[in-house]
Symmetry: C2
Subunit: 243 residues, 2 copies
């Protein structure tokens, strides 16, 4: 079934009806070619609702809420991925994939070896990618996208999370940090830092260790920076969501 | 350090020297701009060797073997990913990423909902992608690439593996198949089947269950067909390789 994220303000009549914005109305009418009575899932970025199409004309689409969905498709813990700035196409790939894998937030970081010095970009395109990946993967919530931050500000984020990790090629395969963190049910929020294409510099590793960020390994092979966040999110889902 | 896969026949003098083929010589000389004495890793698709450049001229590059590498970067079990035929660009993305994650073999399968009816393609481009991903990720072995097979032949592969699994959107989150298989140290070879873009058909699921393929879930969100194999390989690495 098709899913759409809708601003909570679009719900009315005590959450019994919801009006769909222009772009998604176009998608429902022209792309999906749906009709009155067809079922659609919507999320207000908190909960998901099963609805059916009540009105469908040139001006827009109105849905009638049938019921709130009970099962959540959100990870049992909040995971933020911080990544050294990478090329736009790689960042977009990571955004799409870690959204589908349930990440809570993506934080681009200006790191020593980020070979790209971009100023704050217009986020419209990235937010659209996140919305589409959230809809396609049937999430309840949209992933958040942070502004670009400095490495110094990254270190300060320690206070916002139960635990902070960083992917280190120097960490031994016997390093138990990732499994220990994921098996600890008391940990509800994790930040994982991944380097840019050139990796995390030795100085940055040292500063993170001093700030109580724990090094983790992602196995014996070298993973490209766009693959590392996907590995991490898959491992977290496997450990915390599968029976 | 840069790594290159070399045909075992290129080794000579009792494996003390190795001659590099034209393409890789070009890469060493023109792209990497290396010099005599620089160190290079090579693999004969079995073991990896630390070497240094002995001769480097227009005709080619000769390396002197310093020592065999003791640590393997191969997964402790052999994993084949079988996937319903997908678009060429998606297949290439999957080939590159699951190679870096340690997969042993990729098997494209003609399935009911494969919306692409291609005949056997020239494999040169795919094999090049696999070689590059194997080198970049520092593997000891190249991933194997199967020819396109029929769904009927896929079912017959059961005899080649200790266990065969398929990603099913109908499998419950409590389904323990994947974790049980990965925690069982006696299992040395796994085949995992992933559907094409339209998914595995109900009839195909039924036939696989009859052939003793076990359904597994990949979490509560819907993963695109190009993301599912990456999730599976990441979960396998996490479970079997990390301390």
């Amino acid at each position: 079934m098709q899913k759409y994220f809708v601003n909570p303000n679009n719900f009315y009549n005590d959450y019994s009806e919801v009006i769909i914005d222009k772009d998604d109305s176009f998608h429902i009418v022209k792309v999906m070619r749906m009709r009155v009575g067809d079922e659609v899932l919507v999320s207000d970025n908190q909960d998901s609702y099963l609805t059916k199409i009540k009105v469908l004309d040139e001006k827009g689409v109105i849905l009638e809420v049938i019921e709130k969905q009970e099962n959540s498709s959100e990870l049992p813990l909040k995971v933020s991925i911080a990544q050294g700035l990478v090329r736009k196409d790689k960042m977009e790939e990571v955004l799409s994939k870690i959204t589908a894998l349930g990440a809570n937030c993506y934080i681009p970081v200006n790191m020593e070896r980020s070979n790209i010095k971009i100023k704050e970009e217009k986020k419209d395109r990235q937010l659209k990618i996140i919305k589409e990946a959230s809809e396609q993967s049937m999430r309840n919530k949209l992933m958040e996208l942070s502004s670009i931050i400095s490495f110094k500000d990254l270190l300060k984020l320690k206070t916002n999370y139960d635990v902070c990790l960083f992917a280190s090629t120097k960490a031994s395969l016997d390093n138990p940090n990732l499994k220990q963190v994921l098996k600890n049910k008391d940990i509800k929020s994790i930040l994982v830092v991944v380097g840019p294409e050139g990796g995390i510099s030795p100085k940055e590793e040292e500063l993170m260790e001093k700030a109580n960020f724990l090094p983790i390994t992602l196995g014996p092979r070298i993973l490209r920076t766009e693959l590392a966040p996907i590995y991490i999110m898959s491992a977290i889902s496997y450990e915390t969501e599968l029976g």
